[in-house]
Amino acid sequence: MSQAPFGRRLLRVTSTDELGAYRVLRVADPHGPKPRAGQFAMLAAAEHWGGGREQRPYLPRAFSIARHSGGEAHFLLEDVGPGTKRLCELEAGDRLWALGPLGRGFTAPPEDLRAILVGGGVGIAPLAILQDAIAAPVTVLLGFRDRAHAQGATLLDSARVATDDGSVGHRGLVTELLASEIERDPCAVVYACGPAGMLEGVRALCARTGTPAQLALEAGMACGFGACFGCAVPRRGGGYLRVCLDGPVFDAGELERIDEHAGLSEVGQPV
């Protein structure tokens, strides 16, 4: 696991690109350690962080590292609240605070198993760096709300897409594509990241079919390094796990049912 330097560091935005409903933020991080697929960073704009509507945002926000190459970290953003909105406004040359890489990443697939990457919405981000890290061909299944969001699929290679409205690819849930893939060839290991409902669907399906699965969770968190205990999710067998420290990637068997509160990136609801 890559260890983060102690303390947040001031980094410079090198470019921002629109990708359908998303933005891809590229940040120069020449001295940062190379992250492992599935790790994340806490981000906050250096200027005008706070003082927006309701005096928010205040806390930094957690983002999967979507890609890391040439001393640049890439992040996939969607404006869903005051923190993500401010980060989406950043332009090349702007500065931001970053802490990371943080958390426990994905574990590489065993050689005899095919990796199936299942992503939903902005949760496709850690699957891109995972695809970069796995040498063997992988199956990529991505689900989106509509056509604008489905443009995010170009972040990965050879993705099959499902949309809620049927405007691109399969009309319906990405978990339906996953079910037929597992049925066709059950010798697979699943890597998933997305909204709570999708992850719960993946968890339940993989439990039923005995398919090993690693799930990358999101949770509203204040710190990202185990200090605040805010990002708790129920542990199978009782108690709680910290998404930031014990995850964000979990073996599906470690988790209880994934509830609606997982997947909130804005520390409470966006205003």
Binding site: Q3, A4, P5, F6, G7, R8, A44, G50, E54, Q55, R56, P57, Y58, L59, P60, W97, L99, L102, A219, G220, M221, A222, C223, F225, G226, A227, C228, F229, G230, C231, A232, V233, G238, G239, Y240, R242, L245, D259, H261, L264, E266, V267, G268, Q269, V271
Partner: protein, 303 residues
């Protein structure tokens, strides 16, 4: 700029607020980068209870205007496992305040909470036996099971409890006052009369958030624990008033905290009478915030 506090020699006046920095987790995350750059002159543990606690059901956080409401519920592994597993790890921490490689051990302050004098006595006795612990902080924001009032919110009850447990340890005893009371200075006096060696404040202000519509109709509390505690810049002016009021009424040292983000904020609490200043929520934004504030305080510069 070393500081004497209750017989301890601290490298600088900045410590952490209980429950805002998990040093064991931080060493897992930051490794050697944290060793030798430990941001606090003393380390306060999260609250330890006799029995293990899982904590409150999520959601546990709500971002408030310039602040944070948390409803964590004091998760901890219980006194037995804390003493067995955590304390030896914590005792191994060191800091290098000068940056010249002359590291020194970080004094450990263990924060404990019990629901009555008997529970608190058992906690203090167990801590008293451990040489790794330099001082004990008593969290009195625990409801009395009979009255429902926080022990620390009622000056008479607080004085009785502190007096009843005082003799169980020879280590310095710090009472962490609750701000959710009619007169915090009266409570501070009561803690002093009961035998406390120091008081610390402010704890978080009781607060609530409603789940926004249309997610929830009719509206219901957002936090799994229903109410939580407000911290961050939003509470700093309240903290300044309460620390000033307490420092004017007690002879024992005061640890001030509440919304401190910078050396200027720490300086204000010291100016109104605090001996030490704790950094809490600011560490969530940057784990090195305490070190930055201590360095700027030392240099006499603003940030």
């Amino acid at each position: 700029m070393s500081i004497r506090f209750c017989g301890l020699e601290l490298a600088h006046p900045i410590i952490n607020g209980s429950g805002t920095f998990d040093a064991i987790a931080a060493f897992r995350v930051f490794g050697e980068g944290l060793r030798g750059a430990f941001p606090f002159a003393a380390y306060v543990s999260k609250t330890i209870t006799l029995e293990p606690r899982a904590g409150n059901p999520p959601p546990r956080l709500w971002e408030a205007p310039a602040g944070l409401i948390n409803s964590i519920g004091l998760p901890n592994k219980g006194l037995g496992d804390y003493l067995l597993e955590d304390l030896p790890l914590l005792a191994d921490m060191s800091t290098d305040p000068s940056g010249a490689g002359d590291s020194q051990a970080v004094p450990l302050i263990t924060n404990v909470m019990g629901s009555n004098a008997e529970e608190i006595s058992r906690l203090l006795e167990a801590c008293d036996e451990r040489p790794e612990i330099s001082a004990i902080e008593l969290n009195v924001s625990c409801p009395n099971v009979h009255t429902g009032l926080d022990i620390g919110a009622d000056p008479r009850q607080l004085e009785q409890v502190v007096r009843a447990v005082r003799g169980r340890t020879g280590k310095p005893l710090i009472v962490k006052l609750t701000p959710n009371t009619a007169d915090v200075a009266l409570c501070a006096r009561a803690a002093q009369e009961g035998g406390a060696d120091a008081v610390s404040l402010i704890n978080t202000l009781r607060a609530m958030a409603l789940a926004p519509n249309p997610l929830s109709r009719p509206p219901r509390p957002w936090l799994g624990g229903v109410t939580g505690g407000l911290s961050g810049p939003a509470v700093r002016a309240v903290a300044l008033a309460q620390v000033a009021a307490v420092a004017a009424r007690v002879a024992i040292p005061v640890i001030g905290m509440g919304g401190v983000q910078s050396a200027a904020h720490a300086r204000e609490l010291i100016d109104v009478g605090a001996t030490l200043v704790a950094v809490g929520t600011a560490s969530f934004l940057d784990p090195a915030a305490g070190a930055r504030i201590a360095a700027a305080l030392h240099a006499g510069t603003a940030p």
